[in-house]
């Protein structure tokens, strides 16, 4: 907590929450556009209309009455994910891995009876997990089968790739790996592992777990560095396209890599960018300034923006 640390953070261009809110989200993200990303259902529709692949929506529950018919709606599916459309930070997501006669089997093995699942859906509808407690809807969708590239460094969940995009230019990326503590969820504050990705090569660098730098997965013991993310160029282009999709100048795009369907866009986030700096061991500010210094960056084609991003921000060695 010394002033030296303060100066080092400044020097490294680490962006704090105040800075992000005051100089980026408040400036580049119009309030009006927030519902596009805060409501996962609308994001999904938007992405589909633009031809961006997303996990298939099996059903959506909008009113309490529909909860009774949940069993029928779920009948065709062996496994699925239930999530609140407006949840924040991964709260309220239930991943059902398989089912049997008595009920459902959650990721990690816990059993869930139908009535428990129904109660959970009720909670979602009444807004327990939504921002500001507004009524919400529950989405039931395809459970992603993760690409085996992360098999060695994944504990029971679906790793996701987050790319922060500023004015249409990808500026930083990380992959979030579920751990035993995160119970298969990919949110860092729930104990998932964040691993930085070199924008140029798409290869992982070092990681961070519970705010501490790590080089190995805490559960599997495998080294975190040097995993090359498949479809890297495509991921970057999809992420860059999301700028035109939503109009948000500063956003985070989350992807999952499905073994069959390739990159799927999971959700968008209008307030990203704190943990990703830890995962990469690099501050965001210098990169954001670099993009801001370009006057034409919003008008050049997606491919060119990605090329520049890889040239500008690629090959950076993690310092942690």
């Amino acid at each position: 907590m010394s002033t030296r640390l303060f100066q080092r953070l400044r020097h490294a261009g680490v962006m704090g929450i105040n800075r992000r809110n005051a100089d980026f989200t408040l400036v580049y993200n119009t309030r009006r556009l927030y519902p596009l990303v805060d409501d996962k259902y609308r994001t999904k529709q938007l992405a589909q209309a633009a031809g961006i692949a997303v996990p298939t929506l099996y059903a959506k529950v909008e009113i309490e009455r529909q909860v009774r018919d949940l069993a029928d709606a779920l009948q065709p599916y062996h496994d699925f994910v239930v999530k609140p459309a407006r949840g924040s930070g991964g709260d309220g997501i239930v991943i059902v891995e398989s089912r049997n006669r008595s009920g459902f089997r959650k990721l990690g093995g816990a059993l869930l009876r139908l009535d428990e699942l129904q109660h959970h859906v009720h909670n979602i509808l009444s807004g327990v997990f939504s921002l500001g407690g507004q009524p919400d809807i529950a989405l039931i969708e395809y459970r992603v089968k993760p690409d085996p590239v992360f098999a060695a460094v994944n504990f029971q969940g679906v790793p996701d790739v987050r790319i922060v995009v500023f004015l249409g230019v990808p500026v930083m990326a990380m992959v979030r790996l579920p751990t035993r503590t995160s119970e298969g969820r990919a949110n860092l504050h729930q104990g998932a592992l964040g691993v930085g990705i070199d924008l140029g090569s798409g290869a992982t660098t070092g990681g961070v777990w519970r705010n501490r730098p790590v080089t190995e997965h805490p559960d599997t013991g495998e080294s975190l560095a040097g995993i090359v993310i498949p479809h890297w160029e495509e991921l970057l282009e999809l992420a860059a396209r999301c700028y035109e999709l939503t109009g948000l100048g500063y956003q985070g795009v989350d992807f999952v890599l499905d073994i069959e369907r390739g990159p799927l866009m999971l959700e968008l986030n209008a307030r990203p960018g704190l943990n990703i700096q830890l995962a990469n061991g690099v501050g965001l500010l210098h990169r954001l300034e670099r993009v801001r210094a370009e006057t034409d960056v919003e008008r050049v084609p997606v491919a060119e923006r990605v090329r520049r991003a890889r040239a500008w921000f690629g090959g950076v060695q993690s310092a942690t």
Binding site: F6, H11, H122, S126, Q190
Partner: protein
């Protein structure tokens, strides 16, 4: 993004706040500290006389302030008498009149004497009208000679007066003086003669009668001194030493050669002046001054509100202070709390319960509420009914805690009723969700953070000085607003982020 507009706005707000604050503190004398006392006196004049059934007319000179004092709350106690006050030649007087009074009569005049505001002590600058004195024969010659002599030994009006007063102190030793003053004049006679001599010399002068303000005087004697019109204003002179200036505890009453009271139609007139020092809260003095000073402006004073409303504002006005601390705690330090303003509301409740009891009661309520909430969870209730149920349970818990503490004789604990129950219910609900989703650690951490901020806010909001300052000088809230606006653009790190990002500390 330029912050210039923000700095400008904050600067303007701070400037307005400081200007009003300075005006009130320095010019109107609003006290900067709580419980400050300002001196004040109760003045009473009792006039008694013997009436014999004839029409009576009694006039009494009234003080009109001066030498830094002001007169307030005048009362005339006089059953059956007509009362009217009049002003003449700089003197105020009350005239009591009655057609057929009989026997011993007592009339009273009461007033409060307060020091005037620094900005208000105006000087009397009305120029005197010089009338030629009615000296005759030898006295006329003596006066001319005395003026000649004294003028020769003085440089200006001030030294002339001083010299004259000095000479007149022992009239027998000086021929002209003795001829003018007589051999053993009283102080009043001496002053009257001095005024005449000065008038002859072309210097405006008058005798002043007054009292010395003291903490207690059943029979306050009258004091007499001289005022001379010099360089555009009236200046007082001490009659004994002859030097300019009179003690600051002297209150001027009236001018000239009339007595304090004059009676027509009665006998045995006697007057008694009583004085008692009754210091009062400096705030009241200041409010009174403000009201006198500028009519319209003073209507905006909080001190004129009804007592209950004032009591409400006394508390309400500390809320911005608490909120400001909350902004610091959240945006500068990075303490996580439940609900944005919950800690401030808890801090308000602590004012009634006292800190220790507040912490105990709050923790107990939340803990019990959480237990009930976890039980309700098993019943799989929908959100709104569940929240309502928690709220009802919270109120029941508060009631039972009050009842139990009443039995135990812990009267402090009765104040549990003052906790904001809706906020409590929301906190309990939110805490359960955090508990389930992020773990007990996170929930307890946020709960502890909330209590810490509440305690801190309570500590500051409860300082007498803070309470006093925001109540007496509500314009200081503009200063807090300006600081809050500036904090709204603080884009540096939060203290907690130094810990979060400490991994970067290893870099050179």
């Amino acid at each position: 993004m330029s912050n210039r507009r923000l700095y400008f706005l904050a600067g303007i707000l701070a400037l307005i706040a400081l200007l009003i604050f300075g005006y009130k503190a320095a010019l109107l004398g609003f006290p900067l500290r709580p419980h400050e006392q300002a001196p004040a006196w109760e003045l009473e004049v009792r006039v008694g006389f013997q009436a014999s059934g004839e029409p009576v007319r009694l006039s009494l000179r009234l003080p009109s302030g001066g030498n830094g004092y002001e007169i307030a709350d005048e009362q005339f106690v006089s059953g059956g008498y007509g009362v009217n006050t009049r002003s003449k030649a700089g003197n105020r007087a009350v005239v009591w009149s009655s057609r057929h009074p009989e026997g011993e009569q007592f009339l009273y005049y009461r007033a409060r004497v307060r020091p005037g505001a620094p900005a208000q002590t105006e000087r009397d600058t009305t120029a005197p009208v010089l009338e030629s004195p009615d000296f005759e024969g030898a006295r006329q010659a003596a006066a001319v000679a005395l003026v000649e002599e004294v003028r020769g030994r003085s440089a200006d009006a001030e030294t002339l007066v001083t010299e004259l007063l000095r000479l007149s102190r022992v009239p027998a030793e000086h021929g002209h003086v003795a001829a003018l003053y007589g051999h053993d004049p009283t102080l009043v006679e001496r002053l009257h003669t001095t005024v005449e001599v000065l008038t002859a010399a072309g210097v405006g002068a008058r005798v002043v009668h007054g009292v010395r303000l003291q903490s207690l005087a059943r029979h306050a004697g009258l004091q007499h001194w001289l005022e001379v019109f010099d360089r555009g204003t009236w200046r007082a002179f001490d009659p004994h030493s002859g030097v300019p200036g009179i003690p600051e505890e002297y209150l001027p009453w009236w001018y000239g050669d009339l007595p304090l009271a004059q009676l027509r139609g009665g006998q045995h007139l006697h007057t008694k002046i009583a004085l008692i020092g009754t210091p009062e809260p400096a705030l009241r003095t200041a409010a009174w001054r403000e009201r006198r000073f500028e009519g319209g402006w003073a209507k905006l004073s909080l001190l004129d509100l009804p007592v209950e409303t004032r009591a409400v504002y006394m508390v309400l006005l500390t809320v911005p202070v608490g909120v400001f601390l909350l902004v610091i705690a959240r945006n500068l330090i990075g303490i996580k709390t439940f609900g944005t303003f919950m800690p401030v509301l808890i801090a308000l409740a602590f004012r009634e319960t006292q800190l220790l009891w507040g912490l105990v009661l709050f923790s107990l309520l939340v803990a019990l509420g959480l237990a009930v909430r976890f039980y309700l969870d098993r019943l799989k209730l929908l959100l709104v009914p569940r929240l309502a149920a928690v709220l009802i349970v919270v109120i029941l818990l508060m009631l039972s805690m009050s009842l139990v503490s009443q039995q135990l004789g812990l009267h402090r604990a009765l104040s549990v009723a003052l906790f904001p129950m809706v906020i409590l219910a929301m906190t309990i609900e939110r805490m359960t969700v955090v508990w389930e989703e992020r773990g007990a650690r996170e929930a307890l951490q946020q709960g502890f953070g909330s209590l810490m901020v509440a305690t801190f806010a309570y500590g500051v909001m409860n300082i007498d000085l803070v309470e006093h300052l925001v109540f007496v000088f509500p314009e200081l809230l503009l200063l807090i607003l300006a600081a809050t606006l500036l904090l709204g653009r603080y884009t540096g790190y939060r203290l907690s982020e130094l810990a979060r990002f400490r991994a970067f500390g290893g870099r050179a």
